[in-house]
Every structure is written in structure tokens, then in C-alpha cells.
């Protein structure tokens, strides 16, 4: 490039600007959708960035980047001003900025023929610079409160936190809009100013945008700090900057790690007992309704009506009149263990009370003194009949009287009596 160029930004400043672009863009992208949570576009953006937790992690990472850049900028400005002798006044707002602003408006309105002539930094650049400084300060301060609300509430009233949130969101919106309107217009739209990337301005650009600075340069009014002085100042600056760096880093570390439970909260506690019956449910037990279930075994008791028809030993209720044997077991079923129960009570039946009367009533009409077998009394029974012994003590199944009854003797003993007879034989035919 044959054209004469003027250095505007150092490499360090250009790197700072790049860091600012990255952190600012990330902060805006991750922050603005949080401000407008609830609107569709915000949700789309958040989903695109991997969900709210990731968005917040990115936001925090970008915030750390911006804070570190701000710290670096502070030290770099110190260096440029103190060691290199840069004119800090160049960037400070001055009366001339107001005059320039009014002049610019007058020129744009056609009230003035000439555009105002700017020095190193025009009023619109100063507006932008100080807006960034102010905005960053507000964002760091309020961001700290939002990041560390518990710590903040220790030192400040709790209501500072919603106020900080409002300020953080408002300032963010202002910053983004300023960048889009003011910055974009002045360095990209009006004409594309590459100096922040190349570090240089052409002579033409200097004439257009910074004529007073150009005049100063051409007049040889470059402010140079004598190298000896610069060296001495550098010797002071380096340890001071080192100490400042340590202070900044410690502060940032503290900022980031101050508290945990504001963000990573304790999981909710387990809740109460879910299942508990109001009243322990009274499940009816067999004993409560034993009357309708069969307490005895069914083998040898196939004819229910023998004992349970009306007019028998244990008659069924009157409303069962007309029911036949085939119906009983539909409703009445043996109680658990009934098959093992041979007789109520489980005691050895008495010959005198359980067996003799039954024999007397059911058998003796035939098997009396006149027949081949006399069953009218203990000794007759033990003596047996024409066919020999009818009871085998301890062995009901081998006893002829049981065998005959089982084989279908036309007359039967009542079931209870037959059961008693079996048990009595099993017990050894006691004369009791």
C-alpha cells in the first residue's frame, strides 16, 4: 500500500476488542433470551444453545471473560498513560464534545457548511467508550448480586436483588441496542472502518474523521516520553501491575466461587407416607362366618341333607327349603383344615353317649337280640355276630361294621355318629 497510513490501535487493543466482541456477543445471546423467557423466540434460542443450564453456564463463562478483559483493559490503560505517556485527556469528555455534537447536528440540518473537526476521539466515539465502561461496571456489579444473592443479602437489603435483576436486564437491552444502532452505524454502515482489525487508518480517513489529530501529528507534536523516564516508570509499573493482576484474579475467583446454594440448590426433601389406609380394613375371617362354611370333612358326608335338612340335627335355614344336595357346595365350602377334622372337639367319643344311642336308634331295630348280630350294648358289640368280630380295636378300616356301612348298607348311621364310631374304634374301642 503506497498510501500513507497512521497507526490507530495497537495489537493489544485489537485483541481486547476481539475479546469484547466474543464475550459481548455470547453474553447477549445467552442473556437476552433469559430476559424474555416465556416468548417463543427466546425458547427457540435457549433450546438451540442446549437448554437453560447450559445457557447460564455459557453466560457465566462469558461474564468471566468480560471481567478479565475489563481488568486487563484497566492495567493496559495505566500502562499507556503512565509509561507511554498517552494523553488520557483525549478520551475524557470535554466541552468541545458538546460543541462538536451541536455542530454536527447543525451541519446535518444544513445550518452549517462544515462538519465539525475531531481530534483523536470524536464525541460519538467517546459516547460509545464511556457507555461500554459504564455498562460493564453496572453489569459486573448487578451480575455479582445475581450470581451471589445470598452473600449480597448479608450486606445489602434483600430487595437489592430484584432491583439488580431489573438493572441487569435493562442495561443489557440498552447495550445491545446501542451496539446495533450507534456502533454499527458509525463504523460499519457510514463507512467500513477497518482500523480495529488492521490497526491503521489511511490519510484520507484521518482527514475525514480525525483532522485535528492529523494536524497535530503533521505538526510533529507527538508526545514521546524520554526513554530514561519511561524505563523508570516501567520499573514501577511492572510490579504494581503484577500485584493488581493478583488482586483482580483473586477477586474474580471469589466472585465466581463465593456461594453455591443459590444456583445449585438442595434437592427437595422426600414427602410424607403416601399409602396409608384410613381404617385397617376388616377382612372377614372364616371364624366370623363359620356358620355357613363346612367345619367337617366331606368324605363320608356326601349327603348334606341327612343332617342339614329341615327337621334333622343341624337344619339349614328355612329359606333353603327345596334345595338339594347338588346346590350346597356352590356356596358352602369346607373350612381350611376341615378334611383333617374328624369330629368337633377332637376328643375320643364316648360309647355311652355318642355311639350306643346311635346304634340303638338306627341299628338295633334289626340288629337286636334276635338277629345274627346284636348291637344293643358294649359287650354284644365286642362279641360280634355270625360273621365274627365286627370291631377291630384301633383299626376302623378293618372293622366289619365300618366296611359294611361303607359298602352301601341300605340303612345308614347319621354322619356324626359314623364319624364318632370310627374314632371310637381308632381309639381302641374303650368302654367309656
Amino acid at each position: 500500500m503506497s498510501e500513507n497510513t497512521y497507526r490507530r490501535f495497537t495489537l493489544g487493543q485489537r485483541i481486547e476488542h476481539t475479546l469484547l466482541i466474543i464475550s459481548f456477543t455470547l453474553l447477549g445471546l445467552t442473556g437476552i433470551p433469559q430476559k424474555y423467557a416465556g416468548s417463543g423466540w427466546a425458547e427457540t434460542l435457549i433450546a438451540w444453545m442446549g437448554g437453560i443450564e447450559q445457557v447460564r453456564a455459557l453466560h457465566h463463562a462469558a461474564a468471566v471473560m468480560l471481567i478479565l478483559e475489563a481488568c486487563f483493559h484497566f492495567i493496559a490503560v495505566l500502562y499507556r498513560v503512565y509509561v507511554q505517556g498517552a494523553r488520557f485527556a483525549d478520551i475524557l469528555p470535554a466541552l468541545k464534545d458538546i460543541q462538536d455534537f451541536l455542530a454536527a447536528i447543525a451541519y446535518n440540518l444544513g445550518l452549517r457548511r462544515e462538519r465539525p473537526r475531531y481530534g483523536r476521539y470524536s464525541f460519538d466515539e467517546k459516547i460509545e467508550y464511556w457507555a461500554v465502561v459504564w455498562g460493564t461496571a453496572v453489569m459486573i456489579l448487578t451480575g455479582f448480586m445475581l450470581w451471589n444473592p445470598i452473600a449480597t443479602a448479608k450486606w445489602l437489603p434483600g430487595e437489592f436483588i430484584p432491583a439488580a435483576k431489573a438493572a441487569h436486564g435493562g442495561e443489557a437491552l440498552l447495550a445491545v441496542l446501542s451496539i446495533i444502532i450507534w456502533h454499527m452505524y458509525h463504523v460499519h454502515v457510514r463507512h467500513f472502518n477497518r482500523s480495529m482489525f488492521t490497526g491503521k487508518l489511511t490519510h484520507e480517513e484521518m482527514v475525514e474523521d480525525h483532522p485535528l489529530e492529523l494536524a497535530r501529528i503533521e505538526a510533529g507534536m507527538k508526545r514521546e516520553v524520554p526513554s530514561e523516564l519511561a524505563d523508570r516508570r516501567r520499573r514501577i509499573f511492572v510490579p504494581a501491575a503484577g500485584a493488581l493482576t493478583v488482586v483482580f484474579l483473586v477477586t474474580v475467583y471469589w466472585f465466581v466461587n463465593l456461594e453455591v446454594t443459590a444456583i445449585t440448590t438442595v434437592p427437595p426433601q422426600p414427602t410424607q407416607v403416601v399409602f396409608q389406609r384410613a381404617i385397617p380394613q376388616a377382612t372377614p375371617t372364616a371364624s366370623q362366618v363359620a356358620v355357613v362354611n363346612i367345619p367337617h370333612k366331606l368324605s363320608d358326608h356326601e349327603n348334606c341333607l341327612r343332617c342339614h335338612a329341615q327337621g334333622t340335627i343341624r337344619p339349614f335355614p328355612e329359606d333353603h327349603t327345596g334345595y338339594g344336595n347338588e346346590l350346597c357346595l356352590n356356596c358352602h365350602v369346607p373350612m381350611p383344615g376341615a378334611e383333617q377334622r374328624v369330629a368337633p372337639g377332637g376328643q375320643v367319643p364316648s360309647f355311652a353317649t355318642d355311639i350306643d344311642p346311635a346304634l340303638e336308634e338306627n341299628c338295633v331295630v334289626c340288629h337286636g337280640v334276635a338277629g345274627g348280630l346284636n348291637l344293643s350294648g358294649y359287650s354284644w358289640l365286642r362279641a360280634g355276630g355270625d360273621a365274627g368280630a365286627v370291631v377291630a380295636p384301633g383299626q376302623p378300616e378293618r372293622s366289619l361294621i365300618i366296611q359294611v356301612l361303607e359298602s352301601g348298607h341300605f340303612a345308614e348311621l347319621p354322619a356324626e355318629a359314623e364319624t364318632a364310631l370310627r374314632e371310637w374304634i381308632a381309639a381302641g374301642v374303650p368302654n367309656n
Binding site: 446535518n108 430484584p162 440498552l174 384410613a278 372364616a286 341333607l305 338339594g324 346346590l327
Partner: protein, 365 residues
């Protein structure tokens, strides 16, 4: 003589037995396609009638005719065999179930014949899942609605919560003392019963992330309803102010963006309680001013005394309350349009002048 005697006595003894065998079995029901209720009640009106299962469980077989006839099914003249479809007459087929619960778990499936929609809804429910996981105590249709005594479940309305209380007694005891439960028992028609929050047949697991995320909208259904809340002088801002704060906006985002993401972000019930919600001025309320710090500390154990003020208690900032936030809001409400307006105006002027200059230069050339 002896032979005569034997034959005579034999005939005499046989007579009752032959009479019994000749008695006709009950064929009235079996002869028809469907036994009617009257036929069934001939046996089943007997209060003593029971049967029991192999494990000793007793199944009462008694059906009270009056109870049934006043039930929703009785009034519609639904027949016994409408549900007991396996019964076609007498004798009945043997019981296949091994115990009483087994029998109930088999029988209740007949409900789907007439109520397929409700039955299908229950299949997604927490109860059905517990049942499928082997918990036989999990509620089935008849546990809530009854069997022969089905009445409208919400007549009176508190009956709904009493029904749930049968199995969730501990929770009901808490609920009955809450602002909602106490009002319900006084006959208030507006407060939620169990099902208004938990749903009816498709009762979902309330401990899932999804249920947590959805819950603010359940509360909001009533608490953002101006007509309803006006009756009790309750602010309807509660829902919007919740969404405007960290907890609410985060929950809202998570629900929309990543509904399966594990989250413990506070929802209404984390602060107000679940079944024990009380009015905010009740000394026992978790959100009553004096108790708020303890409530915050459930999730933020390091919180100190002024931390609860970081939450604006559903208020909107005003000069009287949270005035700092009110001032900040107004500051930016004025600053943003002011500055942006200035930027736009300045840029517009600059663009206008430059366009004019270019046009003039073009004109001169």
C-alpha cells in the same frame, strides 16, 4: 316275617332320601339366556351368604337389594349379569381366583365394558403402574367407586377426597387442615379436591420432573382466574409474578425447552406446601413472613435473614413496596427509549445529510 320287616323298614328309611333326590334343581335361571336380578337376589339377598378362597379369605356374597337399586347402576336397571357376565345361571362356574383380592382384580375388568374411556385412562395412572409392579393394594375401579353401591362420586363434593382418604389417610389428615381441605369440608365449592390437582382416572405420578414442571399451571388454573379469586380477595398476580422471577422463569423455560431435565427449581408447592397449604397470614404457613427464611433454607441452606426479601412475595414493585426495583424499572423504562430515540434521530440526520451530499456531488459531476 323277618323279611317283611326288613323291607318295610328299608322303604321307610329310603323314603326321605328319594324325596330329596326328586326335588327339582333351580332351573329358572338356567333356562333363560340371562338370569335377571330377581333371580340372583333369591340367593344373594341372604346376609349370611359367603364363600371363601383357598387361603381362607371370605367373600361375602350378599347384595343388599335396596343399596343396589339406589346405586347409579340400579337406577339404570343394569342387570347383575351385565357385570357378572360369567354367570349364566345356577350353579355358577367355580371361582378361579386364589384369594379375595385376586377375585377383585379379575372382576373389576368388567367395568371397561361400559366405561372404556375411563378404563383406558386408568391404564396410564400411577395406580395401574403400581399394580403392574406387583402392588395388589393399588386402587382399581371398584376400590374408589364401590361395586354394588356405586354412587355419583362427587355427591357431595367432599366425598371425592374421602374416597382417596381410604388409602391416603395420612395425606388426607394433612389436607383436611389446609386452606383448601378445611374449606372443602365446610362445603366450599371452589377449593380443589384431590382430583382437581391430581387428575381423575389417569392420575399421574406427582413426583416426576414433568409433574413438578407442570404444577404451577395447575395452581394457576385457579389462582390466575380473576373471577374466582375476586370472591376471596386473592391477588391473581401470583402466577405472573412467579413467572417473572428466577424460579418461575426457569421452570417455564425448562418445561418448554427440556422437559425431561432433572430440576429442583422451586414451584408453588415448594414454598406453600403441598397438602398443607395455609393462608399466607396463618402463623403455620410456610410462607408467612416469620417462617419464610426457614422455607428458603430448604433449598438455600446458607440464606440469611434478609435473603427472603430477594423474593418479592408475589408483589409488583411500587413506590411503597420494593421501591428500589420500581425506581430501576422506571429508570430504564425512560432511559432506553430516550437514548435509543436519540441514537436513531442522530443517525437518521447523518444519513440524510450524507445522502444529500452524495446526490449533490453526483449532480455536480
Amino acid at each position: 316275617m323277618k323279611r317283611w320287616l326288613i323291607v318295610g323298614v328299608g322303604l321307610l328309611l329310603l323314603w326321605p332320601a328319594s324325596l330329596v333326590q326328586a326335588a327339582p334343581p333351580l332351573q329358572e335361571g338356567a333356562g333363560r339366556a340371562e338370569p335377571d336380578n330377581e333371580f340372583c337376589l333369591r340367593c344373594h339377598s341372604n346376609p349370611q351368604l359367603t364363600t371363601h378362597f383357598a387361603n381362607g379369605d371370605v367373600l361375602p356374597l350378599h347384595v343388599d337389594a335396596d343399596t343396589y337399586e339406589s346405586s347409579v347402576h340400579g337406577r339404570e336397571d343394569v342387570q347383575c349379569v351385565g357385570c357378572h357376565a360369567d354367570i349364566t345361571g345356577f350353579p355358577h362356574p367355580p371361582l378361579a381366583a386364589s384369594d379375595r383380592r385376586d377375585y377383585q382384580l379379575d372382576r373389576y375388568r368388567s367395568c371397561q365394558g361400559c366405561h372404556p374411556k375411563q378404563y383406558e385412562q386408568t391404564l396410564d395412572s400411577m395406580h395401574a403402574r403400581a399394580l403392574a409392579a406387583g402392588n395388589e393394594e393399588a386402587a382399581i375401579c371398584t376400590d374408589c367407586h364401590g361395586a354394588h353401591d356405586v354412587r355419583p362420586p362427587d355427591a357431595p363434593r367432599e366425598r371425592i377426597s374421602f374416597t382417596c382418604a381410604q388409602c391416603h389417610a395420612a395425606i388426607f389428615d394433612v389436607y383436611r387442615n389446609s386452606v383448601h381441605g378445611a374449606a372443602l369440608l365446610e362445603g366450599n365449592p371452589d377449593v380443589p379436591t384431590c382430583i382437581d390437582c391430581h387428575g381423575v382416572h389417569s392420575i399421574a405420578d406427582p413426583t416426576t420432573v414433568q409433574a413438578r414442571l407442570r404444577s404451577p399451571r395447575i395452581c394457576g388454573d385457579c389462582h390466575a382466574d380473576a373471577e374466582l379469586m375476586d370472591k376471596y380477595g386473592i391477588s391473581t398476580d401470583v402466577f405472573d409474578t412467579y413467572l417473572a422471577d428466577f424460579h418461575g422463569s426457569t421452570v417455564q423455560i425448562i418445561e418448554k425447552v427440556s422437559p425431561d431435565q432433572a430440576s429442583n427449581k422451586a414451584v408453588c408447592y415448594d414454598c406453600h406446601g403441598v397438602h398443607d397449604i395455609r393462608p399466607a397470614d396463618d402463623p403455620q404457613s410456610q410462607v408467612m413472613k416469620g417462617n419464610l427464611l426457614k422455607t428458603c433454607r430448604k433449598c438455600h441452606p446458607d440464606a440469611t435473614s434478609d435473603f427472603p426479601n430477594a423474593w418479592m412475595s408475589h408483589y409488583r414493585a411500587s413506590p411503597d413496596q420494593y421501591s428500589l426495583k420500581w425506581a430501576v424499572d422506571w429508570f430504564y423504562r425512560l432511559l432506553i427509549p430516550g437514548l435509543v430515540g436519540f441514537f436513531v434521530a442522530f443517525v437518521a440526520l447523518d444519513v440524510g445529510r450524507r445522502t444529500l451530499n452524495r446526490w449533490r456531488r453526483g449532480g455536480e459531476a
